[in-house]
Symmetry: C2
Subunit: 428 residues, 2 copies
C-alpha cells in the first residue's frame, strides 16, 4: 500500500516550523518521503488531496482512564475525595467487562475525532480495553491499575497485572504494548513496587503511575516516610525502569533533578489538575532541568473530555502565568509535548512522533478553511491557540486510515453511542 | 413572526438547571413561552425541531477588539509591549476603514459559529465595525477607543468618540448601543475622564475601559498618584456611570469593595490574561463581594480566538486552582457569567440573558449528538467542561436566525474569508 498526501501544509516536527506545501508519501506502515518543490513518482494506491489542510504528527495522550467516559459530567465541581467516595467508587463496583468495553470504544471515538493516535491507559478490565483498541486501530500502552493498600490484595493484583501484560504486550501488530501500573506511592507499598520493577525488567516494559498529584498526598507521604514520593521511588529502584509519571504537580527542586537524571517522563494533565484544584505543575522547570514532559487528559470523568488540542493550549497558557513570562512554553514546545515527547514517554521514541522518512505513519490532518484559523499568519500558533477538535479531518495510524473527511473508518459510531446511552442508565 | 422550537432541552437560566424537554415559543423579537408537558397552540410561521439539541441563552462576549482577528497568530509568545510596539502598532498605522470592516465581519462569523449573540467592542474605525454588526445581525455595545497621552490629542479623540456615539446609539433596530471608552487610566488623564463622564451622563450610555490588567501598570500608577487605578477612577466620579472594566486582574480588597459598591461590571478575560502572563483575576472574591463579573475573550490577536465556550471553561477551571477549592465557580456560575451577567454588563440586564417569556429572543442551540457529550449525565456541566464551538448549530438574535443547522443566514462566509485572505497579505 502506497499513499500520497498531495500539496499539504506540514509540520514534520514542531521545532522546524511549517512547510507551506509538500507531498508526503506513506509506504505500508511508515512515512517514506516528505517532498518539497518536485514531482513525486507514482503509482499510488491512494491519493489524498492536502490542499487547505495541515498535516501534523498524531497527538499522544500520555495519561488516560478511557472507560471513565462513563462518568463524564457526573456530579461535577466536587472535592476529589468526596467525588470518588460518594460517586465514582460505588459505581465502579458495578462495572463489568462489557461496560468497560463500550465506554472504551466511546473514548476511542472521541480520541480519533480530536486527533489522538496513541495513548497510555490505566484501568480495570484491561482485556476489554485492549480489544477495543485493537478494533479501533489506535496505538496504546495499556496497564492494569494495581491498588493494594492491604497485604492480602498484593498477590491477586500483581497476578492480574502480570497476566494482562504477558497476554497483550506486542499484540495488534505491535500497536499495543503493556506497562505495569502500581497506582501510586500512597496506594502501593514497597513490596508491590519491588516486585513490579523486577517484572518490568523481565518483560522489558515500562511503569505507568500517578505521582505527586496533590499537596496533601505529598505532605502526608513525607511525614510518614521522611521522603518525597519521588525520592522514595528512586530509592526503591523504580526509575531504573522507563517510567511515566502522571501529574508531577508538587515537586521539590531535588525531585525535578531526580526525574531528569533518570529520564522519567512526567505527564502534565493541566485540565485535570485545575479542575480538581491540585495546582499547576512546574512544567518549564522540569523541561529546563532536562526531564521529558508530555501531556495527558486524565479520565473524562474528572477532566470533562479527551481533547488533546485543549491540553496543548492550556499547557502553553498556564506556563506563562505560572512563570510570569509570556515567552514561556511557546506553541512549538506545546506541540512537541503533545507529539514526540509523548511518543518517547510511551516507549516509541525512536519510531514515532515526527513526520520523517522511516518513522511510523501516525498523523492527522486539520481543516484550515475554518474561520477561526483566518488569516493564518502562523498555522502552528493557530493550532495551539485557536485549533479545535472539530478541525480534525483525517487520522491515520501505522498508515491505516481511521478517519477520512470526518468519517470514521474502523468504528460504528451510531452503534457505540446507542449502546453507551443504554448502559449509562444503570449509573445515574 | 411566530416560531416554535419543539422538544428541546433548555437551560432557561443557569441557576435553575436543565429542563430535559420543552417547547419554546418566540413571537417577534421576544420569547413568549417555555412550555413543559402540554401541547402548544399553533399556528407557527416556522417550526424548528429541538430533539437532541440544547437551547441556552446567547453567549455575551463583554470585551473584544473585533478587527484584531487580522493579527491572529502573528508573532505569538512574545512579551506584551514588545509585541505591541514591534508587531501590532506599526501595522495598525496601515489600517483603513475597509480593512477594519472585513476583519470585523471575519470576527462576526467566528462569533456566530461559536454561539456569541452580543458583545462589547472597542477599537478604531467604529463606523465600519457598526455597519458590519448591523449586517451580521448581532447585538453590540460599541465604542471608539480614546488614547490621549498628550494634551493635543484630547479634543480630536473625544470628538471621534462622541460623534460615533451620537450617530450609532440605538441603531440597527436597537441592537447597537454606544459606549464611551477612555482606553485606560494610564493612557487618559483626568480631563478625558471627567469630560467622558459628563458626556456619558448626557447621552445615558455606559463607559467601557481597561482596568488593572498588569501588575507593573498598577504599581506604576500607585507610585505616581498614590492611589490604585480603581480608587482614582472612583474619585473622578467615573463609577457613577455604568462601567464595564476589562481584566481587573490586580485588585486590592478595597478595590473589590469599590467595584461592588458602584455596581461596576468586571470583565474577566482568562485566556488573554494567561497568554500575556498578566495573572489570574480574583473572580471568586469579586463575586463574593457582590460585583458583577462577566466574561470576554479580548482581541483574537492576543487571545487566539473569540470562543466564549472556552472562556467559560477556563474561568471555571482557573477559579478552582486559584482558590484551592474544586467547588469554586461551578458550571452554572460560569454559564451565568457568559449569559445574564454579560447582558447586565452591556446594559441589557432587564431585557436579556435568560430564556423567559418577555425577554429578547437571543439564544443558541448546541448539538448534543456529539461523542464528547456522551453519556450526558448533566448537559450543563458538559457544556462548560466538554462543549465545543463546533457544537453550535443554531443562533438567533431578536428572534432572527443567524445560523441554522450550521449554515450562516446573514453573512457570505466564502466572500469574507476570500477578502480577508487577500487583505491580510499586506500585513505579513
Amino acid at each position: 500500500m502506497r499513499v500520497l498526501i498531495r500539496g499539504v501544509a506540514v509540520i514534520p516536527r514542531p521545532e522546524a516550523g511549517v512547510i507551506p506545501k509538500a507531498d508526503v508519501v506513506i509506504e505500508g506502515r511508515r512515512f517514506s518521503a516528505v517532498v518539497v518543490g518536485e514531482e513525486v513518482q507514482g503509482p499510488f494506491d491512494r491519493v489524498i488531496e492536502g490542499e487547505g489542510k495541515l498535516l501534523i504528527p498524531g497527538l499522544v495522550n500520555a495519561h488516560t482512564h478511557l472507560a471513565m467516559t462513563l462518568f463524564r459530567g457526573l456530579a461535577q465541581d466536587r472535592p476529589l475525595m468526596d467525588w470518588l467516595e460518594k460517586e465514582v467508587w460505588p459505581r465502579e463496583k458495578k462495572l463489568t467487562g462489557e461496560i468497560v468495553h463500550w465506554f472504551s470504544l466511546l473514548g476511542l471515538v472521541e480520541m480519533i475525532r480530536s486527533g489522538t493516535t496513541a495513548f497510555a491507559d490505566m484501568y480495570f478490565f484491561m482485556e476489554e480495553v485492549a480489544e477495543a483498541v485493537e478494533k479501533a486501530g489506535l496505538r496504546a500502552l495499556l496497564s492494569y491499575g494495581i491498588i493494594a493498600p492491604k497485604p492480602e490484595r498484593i498477590e491477586p493484583e500483581l497476578k492480574k497485572a502480570e497476566s494482562f501484560a504477558r497476554e497483550w504486550d506486542g499484540k495488534a501488530e505491535g500497536r499495543i504494548r503493556a506497562a505495569l501500573s502500581p497506582h501510586a506511592p500512597y496506594t502501593c507499598g514497597p513490596e508491590v513496587w519491588k516486585r513490579t520493577v523486577a517484572l518490568a525488567r523481565e518483560l522489558r516494559i515500562p511503569i505507568h503511575t500517578h505521582l505527586a498529584e496533590t499537596r496533601e498526598e505529598v505532605e502526608r507521604f513525607r511525614a510518614e516516610t521522611g521522603r518525597s514520593p519521588v525520592e522514595w521511588l528512586e530509592e526503591l529502584g523504580v526509575f531504573g525502569v522507563p517510567t511515566l509519571a502522571a501529574h508531577c504537580v508538587h515537586l521539590s527542586e531535588k525531585d525535578i533533578e531526580i526525574l531528569a537524571a533518570h529520564g522519567v517522563s512526567a505527564v502534565h494533565c493541566p485540565t485535570s489538575n485545575l479542575k480538581l484544584a491540585c495546582g499547576i505543575a512546574p512544567v518549564v522547570e522540569m523541561l529546563k532541568g532536562g526531564a521529558n514532559v508530555c501531556l495527558g487528559t486524565d479520565g473524562a470523568g474528572s477532566a470533562g473530555d479527551l481533547n488533546m488540542i485543549e491540553e496543548m493550549r492550556l499547557a502553553a497558557l498556564l506556563a506563562k502565568v505560572h512563570t510570569g513570562d509570556p515567552q514561556a512554553l511557546p506553541a512549538p514546545e506545546a506541540l512537541s509535548m503533545a507529539t514526540w515527547r509523548g511518543a518517547a514517554a510511551l516507549g516509541w521514541g525512536k519510531d514515532l512522533g515526527t513526520i520523517e522518512s522511516g518513522r511510523r505513519a501516525d498523523g492527522i490532518m486539520l481543516n484550515l478553511a475554518q474561520v477561526h484559523w483566518f488569516p493564518n499568519h502562523d498555522p502552528l500558533a493557530n493550532l495551539v491557540y485557536a485549533g479545535q477538535a472539530a478541525d480534525v479531518d483525517t487520522v491515520f495510524v501505522d498508515g491505516r486510515f481511521l478517519l477520512i473527511g470526518g468519517e470514521l473508518q474502523t468504528l460504528d459510531e451510531e452503534e457505540i453511542l446507542g449502546r453507551c446511552r443504554e448502559l449509562a442508565k444503570r449509573f445515574k
